[in-house]
Symmetry: C2
Subunit: 269 residues, 2 copies
């Protein structure tokens, strides 16, 4: 165990959604300490301009670097799309986004090369998953669908039932008709809807959870870089930029565990 190995994994998102990625990291890397930063004062990033998002991502990265993280996981599709490459070039630690792990996993599991991607309007309009999938499998047929209501359903806790199912059927109708055999959950909120989405999609379609794929990729990167830690005692820290109370209320649904000791911090100037 090296000194660097004992450092925490930094996970950053615009709000609570990234907690699904953190949850997968906790499950797959139980010996690792983590520091989570939710930029709740400025959520959501989706409607903001690329320059603004890059500035926010830089500030979040600086904050986590100051806390000594050994790897930075950008658990936010919007920030990954606009800031991951630049952060990766600029920082001395590995930077992991949520898009490429999900895209690679989709290519690995598809049999017919028809891959569906669902996400927020911002993620879908950016074409970031489509490009990432085509980089690995140029002949892939990617069909994307923005599902803006899913975030509201997940935060409302309406993760099953009539409204959720009817909404999902409406959004997925086109994808299903085009015969996709793989469906990428391209938004960190969507793992909460996974069971319902599996029912609606049916047994012929494999769901790819970007959160789980990102955690697996993080484990691989730690192994490759010799950064794995296997301590018995781990620390889990949580920071937000506004309204710790609302974050705490929502956190359990996303993380699968209660979150205590959330600290409110200020980013930027």
């Amino acid at each position: 165990m090296s000194g660097v190995g004992a450092a925490p994994i930094g996970v950053f998102d615009s709000g609570v959604g990234g907690l699904t990625v953190l949850r997968a990291i906790h499950e797959q890397l139980p010996g690792e300490s983590t520091v989570y930063l939710g930029d709740t004062a400025r959520v959501p990033y989706g409607p903001k301009s690329p320059d603004t998002i890059r500035r926010y991502a830089n500030e979040a990265a600086e904050f986590l670097l100051d806390r000594g993280v050994k790897v930075l996981v950008i658990a936010c599709n919007t920030a990954t799309a606009h800031a991951s490459r630049r952060l990766s070039d600029r920082l001395d630690i590995p930077v992991i986004g949520v898009v490429r792990p999900g895209a690679s996993e989709a290519v690995r599991v598809t049999r017919n090369g028809r891959i569906g991607v669902i996400g927020t309007r911002g993620t879908i309009d950016s074409g970031t998953y489509e490009r990432a999938i085509r980089r690995v499998l140029p002949e892939a047929k990617v069909r994307s669908q923005a599902c803006p209501l899913f975030v509201a359903l997940a935060e409302e806790g309406w993760v099953s039932g009539d409204v959720a199912e009817l909404t999902a059927r409406t959004y997925l109708e086109g994808l299903l008709r085009e015969g996709v055999d793989t469906l990428v959950l391209g938004c960190t909120h969507y793992p909460l809807l996974r069971g319902m989405l599996e029912d609606v999609a049916g047994p012929a379609i494999t769901l790819v959870d970007s959160a789980e794929a990102t955690a697996r990729h993080t484990a691989n990167v730690l192994d490759r870089e010799g950064l794995r830690d296997e301590r018995a005692a781990v620390s889990r820290q949580y920071f937000v930029t506004d309204d710790a109370e609302r974050f705490e209320q929502l956190a359990e649904g996303f993380l699968g565990a209660r979150v205590d000791g959330i600290e409110v911090v200020e980013l930027g100037g």
Copy 2:
């Protein structure tokens, strides 16, 4: 016509929702010029802390004062709840929020004193409508219901149809059971859902549109203060703090007209 009368009405919201208030102002006060400011870089205000919201509202007010507005309409329930009184005390021009006009209208139309209020979680949790209604009618029975999915439905354009109706039935079930005869639309997004909500609520319930009530109150304030303008040529200016494109896409649904020449500005420091 005085020099001050020729000045525009300033309307401020965290995003596009306030355009329903602006629309009602345009309809009821067609001779008035308007300046709209949507703080799209920091939308939504709901999850942010009262201090943060007050700071944002101050910055927005300063921006509109610099453009010479003769009255300030806070077309945002969250900002009204946390900032309207302080702004009213501090500024030399009339400050109009969306809560009191809607509350007064509800008291005017109710026959049985049972008033339902729907809004975002932030607005409902703040109890602001309940207090405003009870100030006018202390014996009113107010039943409030947060409807977080309605904003997403309005922005998605799903303002009628199965998903919208099923969502509305789920949210309104309790209010209907308690025999309210009046339902206040306590969120600037909700006028888009009005037709569907009328169907779900049924003919025995009167819907109160806070946007329309606020425009009527604005007309009254202008008359009272001798600030009415009746020029043939009016100007309508639009400012946002980020992503003019998305604002423009959504604007037509909220305003009932295309919005041109949106200018992006920076607030605060």
